[in-house]
Subunit: 180 residues, 2 copies
Amino acid sequence: MTMNVRTLCLGFLSTGEASGYEIKKGIEDGMFSHFIDASFGSIYPALTQLTAEGLLTVRAEEQTGKPDKKVYAITENGRKALARAISVLPAKDKFKSEFLFQMLLHQFITPDVMLAAIDKQLNDLRHDLARIAECRCSEQPHAGARFVADYGEAVLTASVRCLEEKRRELVRQTAAQAAE
Amino acid sequence: MTMNVRTLCLGFLSTGEASGYEIKKGIEDGMFSHFIDASFGSIYPALTQLTAEGLLTVRAEEQTGKPDKKVYAITENGRKALARAISVLPAKDKFKSEFLFQMLLHQFITPDVMLAAIDKQLNDLRHDLARIAECRCSEQPHAGARFVADYGEAVLTASVRCLEEKRRELVRQTAAQAAE
DNA sequence: TTGACACTATATCAGTTCGATATATATCGA
DNA sequence: TCGATATATATCGAACTGATATAGTGTCAA
């Protein structure tokens, strides 16, 4: 799959028109946020390029009290390009975790740094879980959104459970060593 | 955390000396593989740079039947730099999934493409689970490795369970629609 | 036996993306 | 009224990926 920022923009705009800013916010907060990320530095050039290729249309929208918006909408050719891009076997998931890197090399850090890292990780995971719950309520729940929400919830719940147990174990060990 | 390829190389070499090629293979197959990736294009320059800074040493090793190796080893300054780099709060995990992108936009693909994607995903997940089991046996199981293995196993097992259920659901629905 | 392929090993580079920064305006709370 | 936050677009250096180049060795089937 040609899974780049171009395809991401087409996918987001397949559900309705939006500006570059709204796309960025949408993939930060909405259902996309669990498995994709993109910066302004890649979104804006992608939108310009896609428009030049006829896969999108632009419309300047004046706003009072806010800067003008460039509202993008997907074209019929854009929908075809999107369908083509996602009709192939997906590449393997990519997962990057500084947290697990830290845990693997725990001998280089102090127990309190380790505990702080675990607590931050738990916080991040719970925030993501809350965001999924929000999306479940706010967005209209079509089959695709339910699939992603269920999958994300399953993974995050398992992570939290595992981490909570690891945390208890660590606290127990640290207390035992302090008592010696 | 300055979690770049430089820190990754220091982390890998903290467990013993290795060549650039061995680092690449090691992070593909070993415990690092679950949460990190790096290409030759970033590893080789990083090793050269780290050596110039005195965080690593190099030693050319001649081999019969194979190209010569440049074997890198971490220095005391390197260990200090590693400890410094990982003694801060970790950045949030980054997860990228073309698969979930496809599932969210399932209305653009046919049921057979969707089923093929799910089967590939299940395959990928099971391969990762098998790799964790391998690492458990082969590598000496210090606390850090156990932590990462347990965490990865919990997450992957939850993913597989969720996906298997989703797959059954899809097969049921497709059969029901075909019967109409 | 020879051609295709895979493995070991290092290196480079175009293209993609990130993260930071710049610019401009408006709102809202301290 | 000062700083922070939000809306909105744009640019750019730095980092990284994925592909390709180079080169010798091993393997295996046609």
